[in-house]
């Protein structure tokens, strides 16, 4: 008999989804109730997962197709907490746009379930099921503001391109199955024979599919449009949560079955990394919409995360996870600011709308200042340490080219972050924005800003948590 306790979080969250759906159908005007229950579900799931983490050994379940280990639990917790925060700060936004409906929290829960399955997958089939579950929920979320043309466009674009990438991914899976005789990661890893070039093709196809999901250059085309068109709260979700899951899959995929083929995939990852860092930095310069800008900035941040993965060492993996965690916190902080740019029930998302913000909203601008310098990677803020760990891991493997290109692209990226700071601090002020923000929004902004600002006092905490991850 399998020990079902280990998948208790997944079981709990799927039962809750079904219960909430039924509740939503039978009870009228239950959107607020369901919203609150969903928050509770996310918290409970996170605490169940946390409870498991303390004494966990690598265990596999269901014919070795699901793996529970320290990394999966950690990433699940980050995903759940991320989803919780996204949901909690977006309630006002949803109400104003009149999309505060029962489906919204349920869709978020389903995509989170999909991500949890992805994170735990040890088999190509399980991984694909998880991936599709989260993607399907995300397509709907992207179009959630269905009366708006841009939102529908975003969802459709995302759906078509994502389906294409899923196709490529499946093709890669079938190639790998054909030449190794199994879909299980462990079995593939034992069967591997590095002279078999068709396997390399399989890896390439899967990498393309995954690169699409994390929007690494050159598979990033959907990101700016989708980020811009989707409701802001969904954009926030897009920039944070799916990336964590996709990164975990990336790590597991590269380092469990295909570690021996590192020579084959390392160049691909280095290319993806360099292209994303440079392209993200350069393309962001010309943007006028904050959400589009953040899309490009997230592309460039994914480039740094991939740089850590390209190293082929445990330190590299750990640095990538540290990077994505700090990135999630910075993003949360930035979007909290974005959700505060509201006047007369209208949200503002152009960079010029930030003009002279520091005169009327000194505290908000100060947080933005900290967040933007941190995103640019200037010490002593958290963003610097994230980059520092990545480049430490990269240079340990003597990959000087990658490190130098990466650091030079931070200079390019610094330009557009500085441009926002310039607009906030040096330009003429505009009308005042509303001050009546929800307590959660204020809390998440304050909390994340303080975390970014004071990270340098004790930088080893996060490393200690992450350093228990040993994949290789």
């Amino acid at each position: 008999m399998e020990n079902l306790n280990l998948v208790l979080p997944e079981i709990f969250i799927s039962l809750s989804i079904m219960f909430l759906l039924v509740l939503g159908v039978f009870k009228k005007d239950s959107s607020k109730l369901i919203f609150n229950i969903s928050l509770l579900v996310l918290l409970i799931t996170a605490s169940i997962t946390l409870n498991e983490t303390s004494n966990i050994n690598r265990t596999t379940l269901f014919n070795n197709s699901v793996v529970i280990d320290y990394m999966s639990s950690l990433m699940k917790i980050i995903t759940l907490v991320g989803a919780f925060l996204v949901l909690v700060i977006s309630s006002n936004y949803l109400k104003i746009f009149k999309i505060f409906k029962i489906e919204y929290p349920i869709l978020i829960l389903s995509s989170v379930l999909g991500m949890m399955v992805m994170i735990s997958s040890n088999d190509l089939m399980v991984f694909y099921i998880g991936l599709e579950l989260q993607s399907l929920a995300l397509y709907v979320l992207a179009t959630f503001n269905r009366d708006q043309l841009k939102s529908s466009e975003a969802g459709l674009k995302y759906f078509v391109l994502s389906a294409l990438s899923s196709g490529l991914l499946l093709y890669g899976c079938s190639l790998i199955y054909g030449f190794s005789g199994s879909t299980n990661f462990d079995v593939i890893s034992n069967q591997l024979n590095s002279t078999n070039y068709v396997l390399t093709f399989g890896i390439v196809f899967i990498l393309v599919g995954l690169a699409f999901k994390i929007s690494a250059v050159p598979f990033h085309m959907w990101a700016p449009d989708v980020y811009e068109g989707s409701p802001t709260s969904v954009t926030l979700f897009f920039t944070m949560v799916p990336k964590i899951a996709a990164l975990t899959v990336f790590i597991r995929f590269l380092y469990v079955p295909f570690l021996n083929l590192i020579d084959q995939w390392q160049m691909i990852i280095i290319f993806l990394s360099i292209a994303s860092m440079l392209f993200g930095a350069i393309a962001a310069i010309g943007q006028t919409n904050i959400k589009r800008l953040i899309a490009y900035s997230s592309i460039s941040h994914i480039g740094y995360t991939l740089a850590g993965l390209a190293t082929g060492s445990n330190e590299g993996i750990q640095s990538s996870i540290v990077y994505i965690t700090i990135y999630v916190i910075m993003n949360l902080a930035f979007f909290s600011c974005l959700l505060m740019l509201k006047r007369n029930n209208q949200y503002y998302e152009d960079i010029d709308d930030l003009s002279g913000l520091s005169k009327n909203h000194p505290l908000l601008s100060l947080s933005l200042l900290v967040i933007l310098f941190s995103l640019a990677g200037i010490p002593p803020l958290a963003g610097f340490f994230a980059k520092f760990y990545i480049f430490t891991a990269v240079l340990e493997q003597s990959m000087y080219f990658l490190a130098i290109v990466g650091l030079l692209s931070t200079v390019i990226a610094a330009f557009y972050y500085l441009r926002i700071i310039k607009i906030i601090y040096f330009d003429k002020e505009k009308e005042k924005y509303d001050d009546d923000h929800s307590l959660w929004l204020k809390f998440s902004l304050t909390f994340s800003t303080i975390l970014i600002l004071l990270y340098f006092i004790s930088p080893s905490q996060l490393i200690e948590v992450v350093s228990r991850i040993n994949i290789i």
Partner: protein, 493 residues
């Protein structure tokens, strides 16, 4: 050493800034903010004086060392001072209160924010000079960009945005290569602790590239020709207090970095690249002096003269002679005092006439005599007249240079003449001559606070000009030891 005196020097301004952040400005005159920041910086100055008094001049080893675990098993937070760095710390704590007194007249908007920026800046600058770990050094070195960017961008002149961006991106571009080098050093030697690295030494085959990476950062910050172009822009647009900080202390970070890291860690590479430094320094001295002659804007003229003076500094450092390096350090201290004073002098007349053009002045000697006397003193100190601290520095540098390379020394000496030319010509055109612009007659002489800060700067300029022993005694042993280790390293490899 029980009491963490260096950390308290670094932390105190931050605490002051935090306190300012939470004060409310009731009357609209920001009096509390001014007094709090002044009090903080003066206390900091007194602590640093105490540091100097209790500093043991007879040893070259690091003193007041603090070593705390920071990033587990990887990097320690380590600070300490030796004869080379202590003077820069005192310079920093001395200049900052002067900046704060000077903002009285110049900063009209958001004074409290300005003072916070200055205090944070002070703490980063002290951090740079006492960091004994490369990563900690880099952290402070780079962090200083943030407040300076804001100081130029928010309170600067009409072209402030361009200048602030140029300043930030130039310096950042130079520094990222240094970060690559620092991390590489960690993987090559297993530590970024400067004291351990001094003992271990760095393998000769890596030194050249590492030296170049550090050079790229320091050259921009010094600034050396041809990457000096950000400096005139930044100086012209920055508010007076910002220019003072920039000229007096920020530029010294690079000179300090050259001595501490380039010479200390990479002696073999330093020996190889000395001709490069000589060439760039001599070009900086002659070329920027000629540019300075042609300037019409006073601040720009002084900015170019700073580049020329820093050319002397880099020249002196790479002579690897006792006199040369001592001269460079004294030149940096002296330039810190004199250029700060000169920028303040320009600030004084700019506040009254709102023009920095030389041509709009002339014949003010009879209208504001006190000012003219002090301005003359600093002009003469800038051109290195005997009896001022500028002379000691330049003289020692040239002495070191003559020992090492005759040709370079001769050309550099020509630079001294050019320096005298542009400074005296500036003084002549501004202070003497016929009074053409009749608006000038309404100018009032120095008020109390201006008089006070200029006198504060004049006293050490003259004192160390006549009696430089306190400075030389402090640095002598450390410099001597540095040169001995340097030569020993060269022979052994």
């Amino acid at each position: 050493m029980n009491f963490p005196i260096l950390s308290s020097l670094i932390l105190l301004p931050v605490i002051g800034a935090l306190f300012l952040f939470f004060t409310k400005d009731k009357n609209g005159n920001n009096l509390t903010a001014k007094y709090v920041s002044l009090f903080t910086t003066i206390v900091n100055f007194l602590i640093s004086i105490y540091l100097w008094i209790s500093f043991d001049q007879s040893t070259s080893s690091f003193q007041f060392v603090e070593d705390r675990e920071w990033i587990n098993g990887f990097i320690n937070y380590k600070v300490g001072v030796d004869g080379i760095s202590i003077l820069f710390i005192i310079l920093t704590t001395f200049i900052t209160p002067i900046c704060i007194i000077s903002v009285n007249n110049t900063i009209k908007v958001r004074l409290r924010d300005f003072l916070i920026a200055i205090l944070i800046m002070e703490s980063f600058m002290i951090g740079v000079f006492c960091a004994l770990d490369l990563v900690v050094f880099y952290l402070f070195f780079e962090a200083g960009l943030i407040p300076m960017f804001l100081i130029i961008g928010i309170w600067g002149g009409p072209k402030r945005v361009y200048s602030a961006f140029k300043f930030f991106l130039y310096t950042l571009l130079g520094s990222v290569l240094m970060l690559v080098a620092i991390i590489s050093i960690y993987w090559i030697s297993g530590t970024t602790d400067v004291m351990k690295l001094y003992e271990l030494g760095i393998d000769a085959k890596y030194q050249n590239l590492l030296w170049l990476a550090f050079f790229s950062s320091f050259a921009v910050k010094t600034p050396m020709w041809p990457v000096h172009t950000w400096l005139p822009d930044a100086h012209v647009e920055a508010p007076t207090a910002g220019s003072v900080l920039l000229a007096a202390i920020l530029l010294k970070m690079a000179g300090y970095g050259f001595i501490r890291f380039s010479l200390g860690l990479f002696p073999i590479a330093s020996e190889i690249f000395t001709p490069l430094i000589y060439t760039l320094s001599v070009i900086a001295i002659v070329f920027t002096s000629l540019i300075a002659l042609m300037q019409e804007d006073m601040k720009k003229l002084i900015a170019y003269s700073s580049v020329a003076h820093m050319g002397f500094v880099t020249l002196g450092i790479f002579t690897i002679q006792q006199q040369g390096i001592e001269g460079s350090i004294i030149q940096m201290i002296s330039h810190g005092l004199v250029s700060a004073a000169l920028f303040l002098c320009v600030g004084v007349i700019y506040d009254r006439m709102h023009s920095r053009l030389i041509s709009s002045y002339g014949g003010i000697v009879t209208i504001i005599p006190k000012y003219s006397v002090l301005f003359m003193l600093f002009t003469l100190a800038a051109l290195g007249l005997p009896g001022t601290s500028g002379f000691i520095g330049e003289f020692l540098i040239l002495m070191g240079a003559f020992k090492d390379n005759f040709l370079v020394a001769v050309i550099a000496s020509l630079g001294v003449i050019l320096g005298a030319a542009y400074m005296l010509w500036l003084y002549k055109r501004v202070v003497f001559g016929k009074l053409i612009n009749t608006d000038l007659t309404k100018m009032v002489d120095l008020n109390k606070s201006e008089y006070f800060i200029l006198t504060c700067l004049a006293v050490p300029t003259l004192f160390f000009g006549f009696y430089p022993d306190p400075l030389i005694n402090t640095i002598e042993v450390s410099v001597n030891d540095l040169i001995n280790t340097y030569n020993a390293n060269l022979i052994s490899k």
